[in-house]
């Protein structure tokens, strides 16, 4: 005889909305009346943002001074491949008032801080102040973990070893005399780096923590002598060290060196002649790198970079063009259908 479905009720699948694919849902459909106005809106908004960005970027003043010294006429030519201390100075002039606050950067080109092994060559535990890792640095720092006599290096690794050690001073020529422009090195690194990521070992005096360790091979002074005048700028939390340890993403980069915030120059660098004195320690000649000093001010969107403004304008105009194209295609299709 005929068997009804009720016989199988223990095997009957669930009849809920979820299992029977009956969930209520929203089905958005892209129609012309949504897409085309959306494109126009986005295009207009992007063009607006792009223009604002471009204008903001245009207003930023920038002065670049390349001091690699590969040209024999350059003042720093003599320091190019010297091994002992070498000082050179360059003069430059600022035509208009360089609106403040002005910031002083050093830049390197063709320098791959983003190389994988190079960037991984450090010991975060050491830099956090963990004394266990002073005695036994992690192997990620190889071959800069220990020196030839097997004494551990603190801070270990290639990243720390290659720290930039040129120093600069800027002076303003006023009435024939050189007036030093004071440079402020406080707070140039990220707040989180300074306060959280890098910690000095809690041993006073600091020098005692480094017993039984050596400085990195290429450093002139050990880490606890980086700034003997200020205990908050010494050791691992030295601002220049922190700025260097923050790896750059691209081979041409700039790092903040100092800020010019002294009373006399808080509104900017007045027009005139300036002299830049460089203690040229860092060799870049061997890998065709270049060194430069950059003076810049900033705006609400950061440094001088036309790319973002131009990109926004381009994308905005392409959106508007595409919306016109789509409108034409849609109109054609609609009229064709009506025919």
């Amino acid at each position: 005889m005929v068997k009804e479905e009720q016989e199988e009720s223990p095997n009957r699948p669930d009849n809920t909305a979820f299992t029977q694919q009956r969930l209520p849902a929203w089905q958005p459909i892209l129609s012309a009346s949504i897409v085309i106005p959306m494109f126009v809106l986005i295009g207009a908004a992007f063009i607006g943002v792009g223009v604002a960005l471009f204008i903001a970027s245009r207003d930023i003043q920038l002065q670049e001074l390349d001091y690699t010294g590969d040209d024999s006429a350059h003042p720093c030519y003599k320091c190019r491949s010297s091994t002992e201390k070498c000082t050179c100075s360059m003069t430059f002039s600022i035509p208009n008032l360089f609106k403040g606050p002005v910031f002083f950067y050093y830049g390197l080109t063709n320098y791959f801080q983003n190389q994988r092994k190079y960037g991984a060559s450090k010991d975060d535990n050491q830099l956090y102040g963990d004394l266990d890792y002073f005695k036994d640095p992690s192997s990620s720092c190889d071959p800069y973990t220990r020196d030839s006599r097997n004494i551990p290096i603190v801070p270990c690794g290639a990243l720390a070893n290659s720290m930039f050690n040129d120093t600069f001073s800027l002076s303003h020529v006023v009435n024939g005399t050189q007036k030093i422009v004071p440079l402020n090195g406080k707070g140039i690194a990220w707040w989180t780096d300074y306060n959280v990521k890098f910690r000095n070992p809690s041993v006073t005096p600091l020098i005692n923590a480094f017993n039984g360790t050596k400085k990195p091979t290429n450093w002139p002074k050990p880490i606890y002598e980086l700034d003997t005048t200020d205990v908050y700028n010494n050791g691992f939390i030295n601002q220049d060290f922190l700025v260097w340890m923050r790896r750059a993403a691209l081979p041409d980069f700039r790092k903040l060196y100092r800020r010019i915030t002294h009373d006399d120059y808080v509104n900017g660098l007045p027009a005139g002649n300036y002299t830049l004195t460089i203690e040229y320690n860092y060799p870049v000649y061997s890998f065709n790198g270049r060194k430069k000093v950059v003076l810049s001010n900033v705006s609400w969107m950061g440094g001088k970079n036309d790319f973002l403004g131009i990109a926004y304008i381009v994308v905005g105009s392409m959106c508007v063009v595409m919306s016109i194209v789509m409108l034409i295609v849609y109109a054609k299709f609609k009229f064709a259908e009506d025919d």
């Binding site: 707040w191 903040l256 950061g302 440094g303 790319f307």
Partner: protein
């Protein structure tokens, strides 16, 4: 009958393999609307020796092809009649049916005749095999499976169908009078034959559609994710420096982007179920492998590559000089990583949002939840607490806070997102606008001719035995309507025929068409 008519409209060929006698089978065929009065010819192959069978097969084939050649306007093809028959298959406009006896089938399944049989069978609209043994059923399925690039589905309800069910690509068991053997051997089982319609046209279709969308999206997402490293190689000295944080790489495919695509794969529907049933020809893209083939794969890979290109180079341009508004520098590896990672997650999430056609509550939850979870984990992992516990494992301390609080970073993210998504929108809009509207072939029930013109549904066997069955009224059953589809109401009048059908016939259905996507085991 409605199921069979419907499946025919979906380009699914249906063959019947039964153990009944020839007359019974033919009567059932007429009542099921598989054989019709207006068919041009019904070939009956009932030879007893190999030679006879061969002769009959050849005659039938020649008949079909001869008529075809006569009716073709001047483009007569010389050469072997039996070659290139698949070319003719699609252009046959007249309808033929083939009825073959079990005995003849045994001869026809010999290696030298099986191709002839297959070719002839494929030229016919309907094939009915009667007096078939279980072994032969499996052999017929095997024959189609081996030689035609088609997917086979076997429906049966008895223990003698088990071999056939196992041989076919998909086995369907009808749980009913004959016990549970067919059900246990099958991939799918249900209680009534008409559910096959829903299985194939609704769930099968949706399954194909979802699978193709899922695959295309997955390739796109992973190409966009991975190829950024390719572009970065040019700028990091080819040292294989990863653009992203290690934790991001680990969690990207597992946590941040897995759930939305899972929801899409489970719930997405392009056409709702009523319309899927109403327009069986919507099933055709699945049969013809239209939604995911080499071209589609290439396109989604290309989209992934272009996305990765934009994902890298727009932040690259912006980060070449990037300063915070307090002037400290910002174009460092970790900020770059966080920017690109955030942009990537947002871009692929927006893309799946656009790809999802059917937004259930679960979709909403997964989609927005994934984004929220991304930001939550990002800030958690780059927070002070975790760093304090495991300094060397969480070197990205502080980056998220510093990076995502800068306006310029959000402007970069916004620009990149828009540039990656909008071209896809434009392309799909233009494609829809330029597409010609096709009227889908609606399942027209009026065309289902009832067999009342010449044969009465009552007289379907020369055997005795059905008389008392009919008069006793035991077979009169009210077909239960599980859904309010109008098709079912017409089925009521012949519901008891369905009964007999299920009781006596082991019906096998074989969808046979050209290439199909591999959604089978």
């Amino acid at each position: 009958p409605e199921t069979i008519a419907c499946l025919n409209l979906a380009d699914i060929k249906i063959w019947v393999l039964t153990g009944d006698k020839l007359e019974t089978a033919m009567s059932i065929g007429y009542s099921c609307n598989m054989l019709r009065d207006d068919m041009d010819e019904v070939f009956v192959i009932s030879g007893l020796t190999q030679l006879e069978v061969q002769q009959q097969l050849r005659n039938a084939k020649e008949n079909i092809l001869g008529l075809r050649r006569l009716s073709s306007t001047g483009d007569v093809q010389k050469g072997d009649v039996f070659a290139e028959d698949s070319v003719f298959e699609e252009t046959i406009i007249s309808e033929y049916a083939l009825v073959i006896n079990g005995h003849s089938l045994a001869h026809a399944l010999e290696p030298q005749l099986e191709h002839t049989l297959l070719d002839l069978a494929c030229l016919c609209k309907t094939v009915i095999c009667c007096r078939v043994t279980p072994m032969q059923k499996a052999q017929v399925v095997e024959l189609v499976r081996r030689h035609k690039m088609a997917v086979t589905l076997a429906v049966g309800d008895g223990a003698n169908d088990v071999s056939m069910i196992k041989t076919a690509h998909i086995g369907v068991g009808i749980s009913g009078q004959e016990g549970m053997q067919a059900v246990l051997a099958s991939d799918y089982s249900f209680a009534q034959f008409r559910y096959l319609q829903r299985l194939l046209l609704v769930h099968g279709r949706w399954s194909y559609f979802r699978m193709c969308n899922f695959l295309a999206y997955f390739f796109y997402k992973n190409f966009a994710f991975t190829l950024v490293h390719f572009w970065y190689g040019f700028f990091c000295g080819f040292s294989a420096q990863t653009v992203y944080d290690q934790w991001f790489i680990t969690l990207f495919n597992i946590v941040y982007t897995s759930l939305p695509v899972l929801a899409m794969g489970l719930f997405d529907q392009d056409v709702n179920d009523q319309n899927s049933l109403r327009y069986p020809s919507l099933y055709k893209p699945g049969q013809q492998n239209l939604l995911f083939n080499k071209r589609q794969f290439f396109l989604c890979t290309l989209q992934g590559m272009v996305t990765s290109f934009l994902l890298f180079f727009i932040p690259y341009g912006a980060f070449s000089v990037m300063l915070k508004d307090d002037s400290s520098d910002f174009s460092d590896q970790q900020a770059f990583a966080v920017t690109i990672a955030t942009t990537l997650v947002i871009v692929v999430s927006v893309q799946i949002g656009l790809d999802t056609h059917y937004w259930t509550a679960v979709n909403h939850l997964f989609m927005w939840g994934s984004l929220i979870v991304y930001f939550a984990i990002l800030f958690a992992m780059q927070s002070d607490g975790l760093f304090g516990i495991f300094p060397s494992n969480f070197p990205f301390i502080g980056t998220a806070r510093n990076c995502l609080s800068e306006k310029s970073v959000w402007l970069v993210i916004l620009l990149t997102t828009v540039v990656c998504i909008l071209p896809g929108l434009v392309v799909s809009f233009l494609r829809i606008a330029g597409l010609k509207k096709q009227r889908p072939q609606e399942q027209n029930l009026r065309r289902v001719r009832r067999t009342s013109s010449r044969r009465s549904a009552y007289a379907f066997s020369h055997q005795q035995g059905y008389g008392e069955l009919i008069t006793s009224g035991k077979n009169m059953r009210v077909s239960t309507l599980s859904s309010s589809r109008s098709l079912e109401r017409i089925a009521q009048s012949s519901s008891w025929i369905e009964n007999i059908l299920k009781r006596k016939n082991e019906v096998s259905a074989q969808p046979a068409e050209s290439h199909k996507a591999d959604r089978l085991k």
